[in-house]
């Protein structure tokens, strides 16, 4: 029954892709808490929409984003000045640009997307973790409850998403069950995915570990915070999500 449902999902996705091509694809930013999802979403909005507009607030407290936020009609323009800025396109670790060893094809330079910043996926949410960041017990429990709802919302969004930027913290071990489960689900649903190795600006970052853990996927190392190697990511997005 479930297999039938999944086959139906893949078939309808194929039919939609062939005959009912969407004008605007919905791209979900997924990943574990504190991987930098909102920082990346803000970076994309600052680059292509308005440098003073934020999609959400990013802090060091996990589960800061507890509701999915969608920004509609973001025009990714590869020829815009902020993308062409050489400083933003420098890749200090050129060995890990792509695991598939294929250069992204230069397609059309513009692509319109809806960007969905999702809450971090986790298998456990302990209110004590929030108290460690100075929250009162009552507030910590409220936040934990909202965070569980956020995880469910992020999972439900997978039914309505056309492509995924899967963010991983390049300073952390990528071999977590959460990462494996997300990738397995995206593969089962035939949803295009780009693995983004974030925080490459930190000395302990090792994007190659991510590339080794998921050799079947393209891995783009970036620093969403510093804006490093974003041009490479935008090029890959234009290639995969068109």
């Amino acid at each position: 029954m479930k297999l039938k449902k999944r086959r139906k999902g893949i078939l309808s996705r194929l039919l939609r892709a062939l005959f009912f091509r969407k004008v605007t694809a919905k791209i979900g930013i997924y990943g574990p808490p504190n991987a930098g999802k909102t920082t990346l979403a803000n970076r994309i909005i600052h680059t292509f929409v308005d440098e003073n507009e934020d999609i959400g607030v990013s802090t060091e407290v996990p589960h800061e984003t507890r509701r999915a936020v969608r920004k509609e009609g973001v025009l990714i323009d590869l020829k815009s000045q902020s993308v062409q800025n050489p400083y933003l396109n420098v890749s200090p670790d050129s060995n890990v640009t792509s695991t598939t060893e294929q250069k992204p094809r230069e397609g059309k330079s513009k692509l319109k997307l809806d960007i969905v910043d999702t809450p971090g996926l986790a298998t456990k949410i302990d209110f004590h973790d929030f108290m460690a960041f100075g929250l009162e017990e009552k507030e910590a429990k409220k936040r934990a409850k909202e965070a569980t709802e956020g995880v469910i919302e992020a999972i439900k969004w997978l039914d309505d998403i056309d492509g995924v930027l899967l963010l991983m913290d390049a300073t952390e071990d990528p071999y977590t069950q959460t990462n494996i489960v997300i990738i397995g689900n995206l593969e089962a649903r035939s949803i295009p995915v780009i693995v983004v190795a974030n925080k490459m600006d930190l000395a302990e970052a090792a994007p190659q570990r991510i590339a080794d853990a998921f050799p079947q996927h393209t891995v783009i190392p970036i620093s969403a915070l510093k804006g490093e190697n974003m041009g490479e990511l935008y090029k890959e997005m234009a290639r995969r999500f068109r």
């Binding site: 479930k2 999944r6 996926l121 986790a122 298998t123 456990k124 949410i125 302990d126 209110f127 004590h128 429990k141 934990a144 409850k145 569980t148 709802e149 995880v151 469910i152 999972i155 997978l158 071990d173 071999y175 977590t176 069950q177 959460t178 494996i180 489960v181 997300i182 990738i183 397995g184 689900n185 593969e187 089962a188």
Partner: protein, 110 residues
């Protein structure tokens, strides 16, 4: 404090529907047991288990720790065959090292 481990055979798991399977696992884990599944769960089932777990998180039950091997492809690379999966209460189980063929976890009594 004693910690119980349930090692569930693939036959037993396959005899259950998806909902029964997830309920069976979560009930075991909420009772404080470590549940080890021969044959494992598919990634879709694991995602459903995370979703179900989130609906039951409380002050006393912060969630689960789950570890499993990445699925292997079979049948001319068309079907993914899942392998062993270990699930335990997050309060007592913690994965300390994991790669494609090794899972190291510590279990500590509360």
């Amino acid at each position: 404090m004693e910690i119980k481990m349930d090692l569930i055979s693939e036959d037993k798991i396959n005899s259950m529907s998806s909902t029964e399977k997830l309920r069976f696992i979560l009930d075991g884990v909420k009772s404080g047991n470590i549940v080890i599944l021969e044959g494992g769960l598919t990634s879709e089932e694991q995602m459903q288990l995370i979703e179900l777990t989130m609906t039951e998180v409380s002050d006393d039950f912060p969630g689960i720790e789950i570890s499993g091997y990445q699925a292997k492809r079979s049948f001319f690379n068309l079907r993914k065959k899942s392998r062993l999966t270990v699930i335990g209460p997050a309060k007592v189980m913690r994965t300390i090292k994991k790669d494609k063929d090794l899972i190291s976890a510590v279990v500590s009594a509360v």
